[in-house]
């Protein structure tokens, strides 16, 4: 990694919901232009951590810096640098895909000309008939594509994707990761949470979260070599097993 400030810097991040500790002092960096995979079973604290990074969830303690900006001190400025796609793709089911795109472009403050350009661009990727359907009636794979398009419209440098491939068929997943790679080549920084372990191979680095704690971090190959494991699944299972016994 270079000496430049990381795109995302997380230090001793904690989140308590009453007496329940959802995230227990997590620290990591995401360098600019990196794809980082956030792995962990359901309830590990992935979404909570991502939401604290975006400022959507109040931090109990610790710090998050986005390109050097403290999310608590400069939430609006930090958010302008980020794009976020939630688990449910965050589209309005009663609006058509095109209406969703126009709406999110509009509230992002994009000028009418820019909005039209975006609409023209999505038309190159998806058939007009599909785009004119209500989002609730289109398949998850296309919904995911539209949600990703919406997320990228304001042209953020840092993209946080919360389980973007859940409920999507394998072919759509493969195509999706192609797009992620395309974004990396454009210099975008990506933090992608997933519980599909095979997706770890697409990442430059992986972070394994379990019960709110970061239990492993590093490049997938390096982690496998260091731990002497054959594949990510074995690494993941053993890491969780070992952590559970501690």
């Amino acid at each position: 990694m270079s000496g430049a400030a990381p795109a995302i810097e997380v230090r001793d991040l904690r989140k308590d919901f009453g007496r329940f500790q959802a995230v227990k002092g997590v620290s990591f960096d995401v360098a600019g232009g990196e794809i980082v995979g956030f792995l962990g079973p359901n309830g590990a604290g992935k979404t909570t951590t991502i939401k604290m990074i975006t400022g959507l969830l109040k931090i109990t303690s610790g710090t998050v810096r986005v390109e050097g900006l403290d999310i608590r001190e400069h939430p609006a400025a930090a958010r302008r640098k980020m794009g976020y796609m939630s688990q449910k793709f965050s589209l309005y089911p009663l609006l058509t895909a095109l209406e969703n795109i126009d709406f999110f472009a509009g509230i992002s403050g994009l000028a009418p000309g820019e909005r039209r350009r975006h609409a023209a661009r999505i038309r190159q990727d998806l058939p007009e008939a599909v785009l004119r359907q209500k989002v609730q009636d289109i398949p998850p794979g296309i919904r995911q594509k539209v949600a990703m398009f919406v997320c990228l419209m304001p042209d953020p440098g840092i993209i946080l994707l919360d389980e973007p491939t859940s409920g999507v068929d394998p072919e759509a997943r493969r195509l999706f990761w192609n797009d992620i790679y395309g974004l990396k080549t454009q210099g975008k920084t990506l933090l992608v949470s997933t519980h599909n372990l095979d997706e770890a191979e697409y990442c430059d680095r992986i972070l394994i979260l379990h019960n709110g704690e970061l239990i492993a971090a590093g490049e997938p190959d390096e982690l496998l070599r260091r731990q002497g494991k054959a594949d990510i699944e074995e690494l993941f299972k053993d890491a969780i097993h070992d952590h559970g016994q501690n």
């Binding site: 939401k51 975006t54 959507l56 969830l57 109040k58 609006a76 958010r79 302008r80 980020m82 794009g83 976020y84 939630s86 688990q87 449910k88 965050s90 589209l91 309005y92 089911p93 009663l94 609006l95 209406e99 126009d102 709406f103 999110f104 509009g106 509230i107 992002s108 403050g109 209500k134 919406v150």
Partner: protein, 367 residues
């Protein structure tokens, strides 16, 4: 203007939900017509029984008046007093009127019979009103009789009912129903609005956008205000055209009152939405609130009848002021000069609710 996009989105969502659209446009008409006929204090065809133990003409004439009155439906007439109480118990009649000759100590039988009215007190409202109607019949008979005999009463009250001369219950209820309509649609629509965004996780995307908390808040309230005002117009048309209720006041002042009221009620609805975890919870809480608002609004019974400390709750109920203002506009043709205090009270409630609601909304989005 980013807010415009949010308002447009909200309106598209309303239009796309056919069931909701039906509820908003057609149900007000049905509700007003049904409520207009059902929720009325007018009493007609009260089933009565008559027991005539009097041999005098006075009793016969009063009975004739009772028979002719559309307010009473004479179910039986008997010269014996045996089973009248039993019929009252069975619910065959609500009232039994017993005429018997009053005993005049000097002359034997009196010129006027003694009248006993047995009422079924379970339906206290009907009993009270029917009792009043019957007293009116007796009083009318006595006055006519005395006039015939060339004698007048030393004091006679001749009430003149202004603003609602025929004392039509629907004239009082109709404007109140407009206030009710303004509440029901907007309260339900808005209270589920934010919580639905939470459930869909679209709220996260909204919050990640450059839209500020105030813009989101206003963007949620504006479409509901629009829908509320459209509903109010529909309601107005129905009560005026269908029920023939006079509208003597000005439309602009009615809209002003409605706007102040909607600000209050929508802030309350947004507060419900912020505090609820699911749309179901929000719906339940809205129902609960609506019933409290309605019962404490003077819609059914005068607010003055509400005892302390519940009266304090009625005083902070915005619907109470709107019901009063709408009735004044409709029936008396009053302007702001007559109800500025109520308007001010409603405005103060609106400002308080907006502050509490906005504060909670800001706290909620940064939790």
């Amino acid at each position: 203007m980013k807010l415009r996009h949010l308002v447009k989105k909200e309106l598209i969502e309303v239009v796309r939900q056919k069931e909701l659209l039906f509820l908003m446009l057609v149900s007000p008409v049905i509700q007003i017509i049904v409520l207009g006929y059902v929720v009325s204090s007018d009493i007609r065809n009260v089933p009565v029984g008559i027991v005539n133990l009097s041999g005098g003409q006075a009793a016969t004439r009063v009975i004739e008046r009772v028979r002719r009155s559309p307010l009473f439906n004479v179910r039986f007439e008997s010269a014996r007093n045996e089973d009248s109480l039993d019929r009252l118990k069975k619910g065959e009649v609500k009232t039994v009127i017993v005429f018997r000759d009053a005993l005049d100590r000097k002359r034997g039988a009196s010129a006027y019979p003694e009248v006993q009215v047995l009422m079924d007190g379970i339906d206290a409202n009907t009993a009270m009103i029917a009792s009043g109607y019957f007293s009116g019949i007796i009083k009318g008979y006595i006055l006519d009789d005395m006039e015939k005999k060339g004698r007048g009463l030393p004091v006679a009250a001749r009430p003149l009912f202004r603003f609602n001369p025929q004392l039509r219950g629907i004239n009082t209820m109709g404007p109140g129903i407009v206030a009710f309509l303004l509440t029901i649609i907007t309260l339900f629509m808005t209270s589920t609005s934010l919580v639905r965004e939470k459930e869909q996780q679209t709220l996260d995307t909204l919050l990640m956008s450059p839209l500020g908390a105030l813009e989101i808040y206003v963007g949620k309230a504006l479409p509901a205000i629009l829908v509320g005002l459209v509903d109010m117009l529909i309601g107005l048309a129905v009560v005026v055209l269908w029920f023939g209720i006079p509208f003597r006041g000005g439309v602009p002042v009615l809209f002003l009152a409605a706007l102040v009221y909607l600000t209050a009620i929508l802030s309350y609805a947004l507060l419900i939405s912020v505090l609820s975890s699911t749309a179901q919870q929000a719906m339940f809480f809205s129902w609960f609130s609506l019933i409290i608002f309605l019962l404490m609004s003077g819609f059914f019974t005068p607010v003055d009848n509400i005892p302390y400390p519940l009266r304090l709750l009625a005083d902070v109920n915005p619907m109470r002021y709107l019901v009063q203002i709408i009735r004044e506009i409709f029936l008396k043709g009053n302007g702001i000069a007559y109800f500025w205090k109520e308007l001010l009270a409603m405005g103060a409630i609106a400002v308080t609710l907006v502050s509490i609601s906005l504060l909670n909304f800001k706290r909620f989005i940064s939790k």
